[in-house]
Amino acid sequence: MKGSSGCLIAPLGFLGKNAPGPRKPESQAQADIDPRGIGILTPSVEIVSSPGHGRTSLLWAMVFMLRQLSRVWPGYLCWPLDHTTGSSLLEIHEALRLGRLPEPWSSSDSLPHRFALHLRNMNPWGERQFVIWDAPDLAFTPERLGTTGTPRQVSWNKPFFWFLSLSDLDEVRARFLDLELDELIRVRHASGEVAREYPLRVVIVLTKGDAIGDLPPNLRCFLKEDPLARALATSEGGPFRARDELELEQPIGMNADYPEGDPISAYFRARNQIDELARDWMRSNSSGRALLARADDMNVKLKFSLVSATGSGFISGRQLATAWSPRRVLDPYFWALELGA
């Protein structure tokens, strides 16, 4: 299955009837072993998310965009570290192209799933592994842990993504965001893994950004005008054309009309601005202020990002009307890298 370089050659037949259903039982011990035999694949980032806040959709969009990034980032390469991720890459690409949404978590069918990618020439971070679990967490979805077989070991010293869909919070929960952070801190302490060499580092990922009703217009603009989404969309055939990865020598978008330079530079500039603007926006209401104050009090390092995995909520059942158009979905990972992932 793998070449000597570690590249996985995906076998045919991945695009099966349940695409993309990465839900085969797999023990934790087996899953964590690096298939190349050079160690253990520990998660680079951990995730906490309440049910229905877009965890699986966002992870699909992240994996998709990490792969697509090679079309706009000269020298960058991305390949799967295991067979399961190789399968998932193909299945996710197809699901996004056809506008399919992931099935909601169900106690009978759903099992934790790991994505493991190797990323190379990703300046300024160089070479990294993107290893991340799509699984229930102890903090916000403990009731689902019983459905997943052996609970996996959480790396409490890694940076965390906190996927938070403001549009899915009810009135009460929206007023008590600081208590949710408290809960994460409490569970981390209770884990017994008291190494805690690092303060808790959390990227608050505001998911479903397209559906946030009172989102400030400047933040909404960043979603609408994501330079990576634009570069991919304006390329011939859009982001889903065939043979994307065969054209690395001619990265798209580099000569396009970007007033602020190439899409990658523009993307990173916007990421920093979004963090600041989102922080200001959170500070403008009492719940956000309480969250920021609590994080400060507990020495939690916070970064903010705003994403939209699908780019649209124009759906019928679990079917989007158009192909996915992920926006700003790599910001959380790039923040995690800066936080030491």
């Binding site: 506008g99 124009f314 019928s316 079917q319 989007l320 158009t322 192909a323 158009s325």
Partner: protein
């Protein structure tokens, strides 16, 4: 309806409302549009009455969830000269209307022929429009007043000659998140619009003949569609 010089036609002031469509449901002898059908539609986007209409629920007053063919049947019932706009027509209307400041005169006051129910909902929309612009923190324009922005996604015909369907518009985020840019070409639909029902899909009609010529449609749909036309500043 409002005259739009850019397309040389009258355009619905707002996307078609449920109240307008209910006139059609009452009058049209069409078994397809029976009570279970309307129940299904209302499950997608529940109805509100004009007195409940506010800046955080106004989309519930709009008729959405229809398939394009069903919207076309409504257009045919309104009259032979009514139809759904093409993508190019919709874009022209949008670009023209967003450059024009909002009308100070209530639109409801211009619709002398509209029924009381339609007048009532138009009044409510007139009242709520500034709140919507304020809520969305955008400069009010005729486009936002007409809910070309912050309304629904609207069915438009695409292709030349028109042979397919797509949607245009910028829906209210609280109703349907969507990051497409109305000024850019519509994304091709993957899903079959005649086999799926999209809760956020509404529509408006255009008319290529002066509304004064025939009062039939006005009487039939009791709506702004049949109201006296006014020249828009666009």
């Amino acid at each position: 309806m409002l005259w739009c010089e850019e397309v040389g036609a009258y355009v619905h002031w707002l996307p078609v409302t449920k109240i307008q469509f209910e006139y059609f449901l009452c009058a049209a002898p069409d078994a397809h549009f029976d009570a279970p059908w309307y129940d299904e539609i209302l499950r997608l986007n529940p109805r509100i009455s004009p007195c409940e209409l506010g800046a955080r629920n106004y989309w519930r007053a709009l008729m959405t969830g229809l398939r394009p063919s069903e919207a076309q049947r409504f257009a045919s019932w309104c009259g032979d000269d009514y139809r759904l706009p093409t993508e190019a027509e919709w874009s022209s209307i949008f670009h023209a209307a967003r450059k024009v400041p909002p009308k100070n005169e209530p639109f409801a006051g211009m619709c002398e022929g509209a029924s009381d129910r339609v007048q009532e909902i138009l009044w409510r929309f007139d009242e709520v429009a500034p709140q919507i612009a304020q809520q969305m923190r955008c400069a009010p324009s005729l486009g936002s007043q007409m809910l070309l922005q912050f309304g629904t996604l609207e069915w438009v015909q695409t292709g030349s000659p028109p042979s397919a369907w797509s949607v245009k518009g910028e829906p209210a985020p609280g109703f349907c998140g969507d990051l497409s840019i109305p000024g850019l070409p519509a994304e091709p639909l993957i899903a079959d619009p005649e086999s799926c029902r999209f809760a956020a899909a509404g529509f408006r009609l255009i008319r290529f003949r002066s509304p004064e010529i025939s009062g039939g449609a006005q009487a039939k749909n009791g709506s702004a569609a049949g109201s006296r036309g006014k020249e828009a500043e666009s």
